[in-house]
Amino acid sequence: MKPSDIVKAQLMDAQDMERTLARLARQVIEELHPNDKSAAIIGMHRRGVYLARRLQTLISDFENIEIPVGTLDVTMYRDDLHRISRKVQMRSTNIPFDVTNRHLILVDDVLCTGRTVRAAMDAVTDFGRPARIQFLTLVDRGHYELPIRADMVGRVVPTIPGEEVRVQFNEIDDREGVWLVTRGSR
């Protein structure tokens, strides 16, 4: 969360998140073809990476299936770079497997406009030609600007302009859960 955020409501607490993540992990398992070892998860920076790792652990715990996880930063593929002079800090892209012919599950914490997913699809196809790409998100807040939808959704949260959804993970934040906030003046 940012210091300027004004909390409107808490959407999930740590326990809710645990439950939802468990369901999403089972949904991913359902999607896997039996005996198909091609599946891989790619977490999108920043919190998609932690979400991806959680899912990896849960999938391993439930069914003893080991799925590799990669991380992706889409900054270089953003479609608004020429409009802004402020540069966003890049984070590491690390895809330790060949994506060609793989079943990729892109993971991000929040789906809003779909532009990040668009950039992510461009980025992963520069690494190779995946057999299939799916998209999983913890919160779908819906202000789509592109014909992109999530295949697996934790929770749908309709929002109005000015509102933001903040997902917090113990790994990098001082608490865990999902909050609806408005951006205060900066």
Partner: protein, 317 residues
């Protein structure tokens, strides 16, 4: 990240241009290095190109002979999907008597966003910033600065050492004529490294100590406890015959050889290239596994991508 709108986690360069590293802060240098590491990863991909700077036009103005720096900038621009114009000194309008100011203003009139300049006059890059609105990157101006060379050296060092703080770096050779040495001294001292410069007194400027470095004239003294040795090229084309008695004598006194690599088993060696084999480095050192010349070359592309990316103007300007 939840969508592609600008977010708070933004670090920026305080500078509009890269003229030299003397005014760059440690934060700015570290931002360039961390950005360069991400671009370094791009260079390992099957498709080594990202669409980041589609629509940005860069002019490469090289008024002095250069192969690797020019190609490195060219490749960096292309890897970022920017458009690039190459402009050389000979055979161009400059040889027809056009002034530098007129040349660059004509080029800028073609809607160029950034200019990379290599020129024999110190301050040429700074002069450009006063004539044109485009962002300027100094690719070497006389004996003044060559900031991207120093940045690629720093990136190479940072791949082998965790921190610059207290790192002992010795720069060996022609300090007086070396823009690489000056840029490295500024950047390394800013990041907290302990810099020693070493060379014959004919190639050592007066008052070098005022840059915050240790000055020695004996190679063994320079290499004692040294983590990184940066050997500078003896610029035969710039040197009058009188400053060094002979290349052979220079090698005997200041050249790095296999014995030095054995005596200093942790030391890495950098060289900006092109190497005069048998002068600055003997064959054993030039091909040694702790000599990082080829890493420097690839890091040069990554660092230049980072600098171009971080300085590229937004459309709002």
């Amino acid at each position: 990240m939840e969508d592609v709108a600008p977010k708070a986690e933004t670090r920026i360069l305080q500078h509009r241009h890269l003229l030299g590293l003397s005014t760059y802060s440690a934060d700015e240098i570290q931002l360039i290095l961390s950005t360069a590491r991400e671009f370094r990863e791009v260079l390992e991909r099957p498709i080594k190109r990202v669409p980041t700077l589609l629509g940005t036009t860069i002019a490469n103005l090289f008024f002095e002979p250069s192969t690797r720096t020019r190609i490195s900038f060219e490749l960096a621009a292309k890897r970022l999907s920017a458009d690039l114009i190459n402009f050389g000194g000979s055979g161009s309008s400059l040889s027809k008597g056009e002034s530098l100011r007129d040349t660059v203003q004509n080029i800028e009139a073609m809607k160029v966003d950034m200019v990379v300049i290599r020129h024999s006059s110190p301050g040429a890059a700074h002069f450009l910033t006063r004539c044109i609105k485009a962002r300027v990157i100094n690719a070497g101006d006389g004996a003044h600065e060559h900031p991207t060379q120093a940045l690629l050296d720093l990136l190479t060092i940072s791949e082998r050492y965790e921190s610059f703080s207290g790192l002992r770096v010795s720069i060996i050779g022609d300090i007086a004529h070396s823009r690489v040495a000056r840029s490295n001294i500024f950047a390394l001292t800013t990041l907290g490294a302990e810099v020693t410069v070493c060379g014959p007194s004919t190639l050592m400027p007066l008052h070098t100590e005022s840059l915050g470095v240790r000055v020695v004239h004996n190679l063994d003294e320079a290499l004692h406890g040294c983590d990184v040795a940066i050997a500078l090229r003896i610029q035969r084309e710039r040197l009058g015959a009188s400053l060094v008695p002979s290349m052979r004598e220079y090698h005997a006194t200041y050249g790095l050889n296999g014995r030095h690599m054995t005596m200093h088993p942790d030391m890495i060696v950098l060289h900006p290239g092109p190497v005069n084999r048998g002068v600055e480095l003997d064959d054993e050192v030039a091909d040694h596994e702790r000599t990082a010349i080829l890493d420097q070359v690839i890091n040069g592309v990554a660092v230049r991508m980072a600098v171009i990316y971080l300085l590229a103007p937004g459309a709002a300007e």
